[in-house]
Subunit: 490 residues, 2 copies
């Protein structure tokens, strides 16, 4: 398979699809809409999981596991929820196969379920059905639970990581005694997500609230983090929902308060998914391949020997083993690729494609001089340094790369937030430049829908830090008191 | 909910079910056969996962993720496999729900899948369908991949952890250039499982091979680790399969060898599941509740303050914080339960039920004397020691508990392996004492089936260390050259 990619300028969408496959992140499977996450892609996801899991635990959450299947009737209990989720879903109707008279494997029609089971698209219903058994008094609250799981949403048009029928995610589901606590929790988790996106993914995000029509089905408020991809389209990277007492009422979950009163429980839920993998790819990568932030790179430094014979290889290997050991002591992940089945040039292209932040090459001349060649993936620059300085240098440069990726993405993002004051300007900016459009909106669903219909742009969020500002809705001309962010989005 | 359990002597099965629920490990859900793994139970599973994952990676394996759904036709490709697995399974037939004329949520019959999808009972088929795309030459081999996932097998009689419709597991799937390598891999993983069972679960196991009829559907050889529960029944705790070229042939996976020849790839698969949680409970626990080996206990030391007023509590807390910090520095997990909503006696019973290895109590008298009371869960003994000695003491005793649990289980297991030389003896030992029965077997499936029919005992394994020994089959009287182990099993 050629390592050459379609360029972003040629076809951004094609570039993305090729990159995900060629960099060994994921590929389509024989099952419609379901992907295979390959070891290299999964290793990045594992690093994401580890950091998020640590952050969840540091904020007092525990993990648990709830059933994959949800009885159909559960969905009917929360009206807006069923409309939002349970419609496009995988439905289990039978529990047995058999061989027919010709020996063909067929569904056994006598083994039909009394009630169909839905493969979870999200777990609010089954979890609140369980919480009813766990909660009696204020002493049982709060419940701060997270689940790492697979979920299925029957998407018609799928794209690796960005939109797949099955995807991996975490879903936090918390139960609280008061409204204030639940709101604080959902905002806290928005903060955790933003922290993760910025400090690990090196991906700047805007924190904000969703407009009513973009909220999670069943939520009173949805807090989001929105990122901007290199093609000027926004990507919703994580959401945290204040669910009010909707699910407590649907599943009859009450608690006895300190004052002895019976009250409904307050809820939140929040999640991020393997979609973040798509966001990571599209935020930093270039026409040569992946560019990974060191904080999430499975391999931070790859070392390639350059040799003509076994003797040279042995001498290089000895030196490399020493160096690798020192680097690993500092917590740096190092791969030494001494395969003789591939040439150095092939390996260089391979690790460029795979986004390894630093590549070290060492040849016989380097051994003589006590040097090595080190190349940065982010700016595609290389230099020769002394072997003795390498550990200190690598530590410093990995941090620099992490910062550089963040700053580069931030600069791009900031230069792609445009304030507009008329609908013509709105359409023009959207078509020519893309990015976020900061505009006044009259607060009605009608206007939001019409703008979407005409431009395909949606309200990404009402930013947390939006200032009060008198103005007129770009579409209707009605009064507005703050700007919101529109964009075309993934 | 009362913390008192049915005793093991009264009803072992009831004791187990009560314990799993009362100790907050798991509970049944609203979905037939599917359990909810509660945070405390999941925390133990996470510790198991972390150790196993480390061991897999140390032996060169990487994680990946494959689709939840498998097209029905995939199962038909490996004949014995479909019989063994795909028959009792969850079948997805539709992909949409709708509201009917009365507003009721029903399956949309117009949204029927062309080919039904099976919720994976195990992933050999979908993985080998994928490996075909990954493997071209010997340079692509070996593939050493593991997956952490949920699987579904439609069991009619389910029991928490031991047999559930959905369960969590890991499944390793490896591809090799030679038969010898594949066999070595499957044996290596049997060794990894035994190591984990013995050193982390403190559960002695017998390593052996399965007889033909007990093999995995599609395997040429199944290597197993077999444990013995306190009621004298065996439990298969992990299996590793040498699959030969069966799946490579079924999915047409060939590679070009170094010599340029096109050959079928050799395969293994191996797995352990949340069933290990059941094994852990049944190996060590007693009539007061769980007993957890320190190496897998989410909380290794719990500290309970004993106080009459806030002033005393503050003084104790200050001392405890200092102690907890020192313990944590040594990598010991500590919980300080200073809730004032529960009394010390309630907390003692609670942590006994939850199997926390060490419990420390500290009261005002202790503060004066610089002492504390420390109680071991495994032998239910307590003593008073000086606070200053505590860290050293705890480190030592945790190791002692780990060893004690293993040795206690080993002693029980060893005293429950009985050699018998006649079928009458076989039946008598099975009825009166249980455990493993070491007996000569003629090697035929017919004999195995008849013994199972009459006694419900199955061949658990042909132990790896079985000596050559001339004898006669206890059932048929035919010649045999080594003993195998029979038992009733979970």
């Amino acid at each position: 398979m050629s390592k050459k990619l379609t360029t972003r300028a040629e076809d951004y969408s094609k570039w993305y699809n090729e990159l995900v496959v060629k960099a060994d992140l994921a590929e389509n499977s024989g099952v419609r809409g379901c992907m295979v996450i390959k070891p290299y892609g999964y290793a990045i996801w594992e690093k994401m999981q580890a950091e998020l899991d640590r952050m969840f635990k540091e904020t007092g959450h525990e993990n648990a596991y709830f059933p994959l299947f949800i009885p159909k009737s559960y969905f009917s209990k929360e009206a807006s929820h069923v409309d939002g989720f349970a419609k496009e879903c995988a439905v289990v109707t039978h529990y047995r196969l058999k061989n027919d008279e010709n020996g063909k494997v067929v569904v056994d029609e006598t083994a039909k379920l009394e009630e169909e089971l839905i493969v979870r698209p999200t777990s609010e219903t089954i979890i609140w059905d369980t919480y009813r058994k766990w909660i009696e008094s204020y002493r049982d609250l709060p419940i701060l639970v997270n689940q790492w799981a697979n979920v299925v949403r029957w998407e018609m048009r799928t794209r690796l990581f960005l939109r797949t029928a099955e995807f991996l995610w975490q879903e936090g589901h918390t139960a609280h005694a008061t409204k204030a606590e639940a709101i604080a929790e959902s905002k806290q988790m928005q903060g955790v997500y933003a922290d993760f996106a910025e400090n690990f993914m090196a991906m700047p995000v805007i924190k904000g609230a969703k407009s009513e029509s973009e909220r999670f089905a069943g939520a009173l408020d949805t807090y989001t983090i929105e990122a901007l991809m290199q093609d000027g389209k926004a990507l919703q990277a994580g959401t945290s929902h204040f669910l009010g007492q909707n699910f407590a009422k649907a599943f009859d979950v009450k608690f006895t308060s300190k004052e002895g009163k019976l009250e409904y429980v307050w809820a939140t839920s929040w999640g991020v998914s393997t979609r973040l993998m798509g966001a990571l790819v599209m935020t930093h990568s270039d026409d040569k391949g992946l560019v990974l932030p060191p904080n999430l790179a499975p391999i931070q430094v790859v070392i390639v020997p350059i040799h003509r014979n076994d003797e040279q290889l042995d001498a290089i290997t000895e030196k490399v083993n020493e160096l690798a050991k020192s680097l690993r002591k500092k917590g740096i992940s190092v791969k030494y690729d001494n395969r003789t089945t591939y040439k150095p040039g092939w390996k260089f292209a391979e690790y460029e494609l795979k986004g390894v932040p630093l590549r070290i090459a060492m040849g016989p001349r380097d051994l003589e001089n006590g040097t090595l060649e080190i190349a940065r993936r982010d700016i595609l620059e290389k230099q020769t340094i002394s072997i003795d300085e390498t550990v200190v240098y690598v530590e410093k440069i990995l941090e620099e790369i992490q910062d550089n990726l963040y700053n580069r993405a931030l600069e791009y993002r900031n230069s792609h937030i445009t304030e507009v004051n008329s609908f013509d300007e709105f359409k023009e900016v959207l078509e020519t430049k893309g990015g976020f459009i900061s505009a006044h909106w009259d607060g009605t669903i009608e206007t939001e829908d019409k703008i979407k219909e005409i431009t395909k742009a949606t309200i990404r969020c009402i930013p947390n830090d939006a200032k009060e500002e008198d103005g007129k809705c770009v579409f209707s001309g009605m009064k507005s008191n703050r700007r919101v962010l529109f964009a075309k989005a993934y």
